[in-house]
Symmetry: C2
Subunit: 279 residues, 2 copies
C-alpha cells in the first residue's frame, strides 16, 4: 500500500514526489515530457516512471495523485479514466473544486473513488527542478469530500497531508472551499495584478518601501494557470471582486467628501479585524 | 553645531533622537506630555528637554526637527514660529508636502529656513518606548526643497539623513513627492483597509496563507494620522484610487466576459513590471 503514482511532475507534483519518497513511499511518476521523468529518476525523486499514459502502466496503481491544471485533469479522466484499476483511490491538487469534483466523480462512477484535496502552497517558479517539499510545512491542506466519498477515501487524503507535513489539514465542502479561495487567494492576486498594471511605476522603484513590495509580490503570476483558476471559479470570484471594489469606492467617496469620521471608522474596523490574522 | 532639538518625541521623533544621540549629536527634546521627556532623559536618548514650548527654551537652538502630525506642525509654526532663533534651520518628518511646505515657509518668512524631509519609515506601534533608529536602515529619505531653500538648508537635511543611516537619500519637488506617496504608500494603505473591511473574514483565519497576510499587514492602521495624511493629499490620492479602481473593474469585466487573452495580457504586463521591484 506504499506504492503511489504522481501524474504530472511539475513544481507541486515534483514536491509531492520528493516529500513522499522521503517518508518511505514507493513513488512512481507520469509526465507527458520525458525530461521530467529522467530528472526525477536521476535524482531519486521517483523509483520509475513513464511518459506514456497507457493502461498497462496506470492500471498497476491503487493510489494515484493527479497534479495537473484543472482542465487537463478533467480531460485525462474523460479519456483515460477507464485505465484506472477498479477499487483504486485517486486524489488531486487542484485549486478549484466545485467545477471539477462532481464531474470527475460522475465520470469515474462507482469503481474508482476520487477524493479531492488542495495543498495551499506554491512558489513563483515552475518545474520539477524547483520541487521542494518544504513549501508544505507552513501551508494549509484542504480536503473537500462529497457524499460520494468514503471514510477510506478521506483517510487516504488525510494520510498524504500528514506525510507531507502540512501545518493544518481541514475538511470543507467544495463550495466552502471555492468561496474561501475566491476571497483569500484569487481576490488578492487580482488586486496585485490591478495595482501593478494601473500605473507605469518603473521610475518609482527607488522610493518603494515594504508595503508596495508586499502588496505586489504575487503580481509575478503564471497567466495560464491563474486565468484557468479564475474562470473555473468565476461566480465566487466576481462576488468577492464586486464587494472589494464597492469598499474601495466607498473609501474613495469618504475621502472625496472629507468625511473624517467615516474614514476613521473604516480604519478602526480594519485594525480590529487584522488582529485575528496576526500569526 | 551638534546641538539639535527634536520637537515631538513619538515613535519617529524618538527614533531620530536615539539615532542622532548615537552619532554624537547633543540632542534635546520637546514633548507636550512630560512622561516622554522623562523617559528619554532616563534612557539617555536626550540630554535634556521641556514639556513647555517657550521662547526661552526654543530660542536656544540653531537646528530643530519637528516630528509632529502635519496639522499640529502647522499650528505650532503659526503660534510659536516667532520663538525660533533668527538664522536657524528647521526640518520635519511629515508624510505630505505640497499642503504644508509653502505655507510654513511663508509663515516663517526670511529669518528661519524650513527644509522639508520625509523619512519613509515606520512601525505598527507608537510612542518613544518603541523608538528604534534601525527602522531607517532599509528606508528611503526624501528631501523636498523649494526655490526658497538654500544649499545650506539642503545640506542640513542631507546630513540628518546620512547620520540616521538611510538606505537612500533623494531630492524631489513637493508635488513629485506627493504623487509618489499617493501611489506607493497611501493607495496601498487604502487597498489594505478596503480588503480587510469588505468581508467578515474571522472564520477564514485558519486557511489564510502568506498572500492575504502580506496584503493586509498595513491594514493595522493609525486612523488619526492616516486620515490626516489622506485628506492633506486628497487630489493626488483620489487620482491613484480612481486609476486602481478602474483597473480592478477592467479585470472584473474581462473575467465576467471570459476574455482569456485580455486577462492573460494583463497578467503578463503585471509579471513584467513586477520584475523592476525585485530587490
Amino acid at each position: 500500500m506504499d506504492k503511489i503514482l504522481i501524474v504530472g511532475l511539475g513544481l507541486i507534483g515534483g514536491s509531492y514526489a520528493k516529500g513522499l519518497t522521503k517518508m518511505g513511499y514507493n513513488v512512481y511518476g507520469y509526465n507527458r515530457n520525458k525530461d521530467a521523468i529522467d530528472y526525477a529518476k536521476k535524482n531519486k525523486i521517483i523509483i520509475d516512471g513513464s511518459s506514456e499514459f497507457t493502461e498497462d502502466f496506470i492500471g498497476e496503481f491503487d493510489r494515484i495523485i493527479f497534479s495537473l491544471y484543472p482542465k487537463v485533469f478533467k480531460e485525462y479522466i474523460e479519456k483515460y479514466g477507464s485505465f484506472i484499476k477498479k477499487g483504486a483511490i485517486i486524489s488531486d491538487v487542484t485549486g478549484v473544486k466545485e467545477s471539477i469534483v462532481t464531474d470527475i466523480q460522475n465520470i469515474l462512477g462507482d469503481s474508482v473513488e476520487f477524493i479531492a484535496a488542495h495543498p495551499m502552497a506554491g512558489k513563483e517558479v515552475y518545474g520539477i527542478e524547483n520541487a521542494d517539499e518544504k513549501i508544505f510545512e507552513n501551508a494549509n491542506y484542504i480536503i473537500t469530500p462529497t457524499k460520494k466519498n468514503t471514510d477510506k477515501g478521506i483517510a487516504f487524503a488525510t494520510e498524504i497531508g500528514e506525510a507531507l507535513n502540512f501545518r493544518k489539514i481541514s475538511l470543507l465542502t467544495p463550495k466552502e472551499h471555492d468561496e474561501m479561495i475566491a476571497f483569500l487567494s484569487q481576490l488578492t492576486h487580482c488586486i496585485a495584478v490591478a495595482l501593478m498594471t494601473c500605473k507605469d511605476s518603473e521610475d518609482l522603484v527607488n522610493y518603494t518601501g515594504d508595503s508596495f513590495r508586499d502588496l505586489t509580490r504575487i503580481a509575478n503570476i503564471n497567466e495560464n494557470m491563474w486565468t484557468e483558476l479564475f474562470l473555473m471559479n468565476k461566480s465566487a470570484l466576481l462576488k468577492e471582486m464586486d464587494s472589494f471594489i464597492n469598499c474601495m469606492s466607498k473609501l474613495r467617496d469618504f475621502i472625496n467628501n472629507e468625511d473624517e469620521e467615516k474614514i476613521k471608522n473604516m480604519m478602526r474596523l480594519s485594525t480590529e479585524r487584522r488582529k485575528y490574522f496576526n500569526k
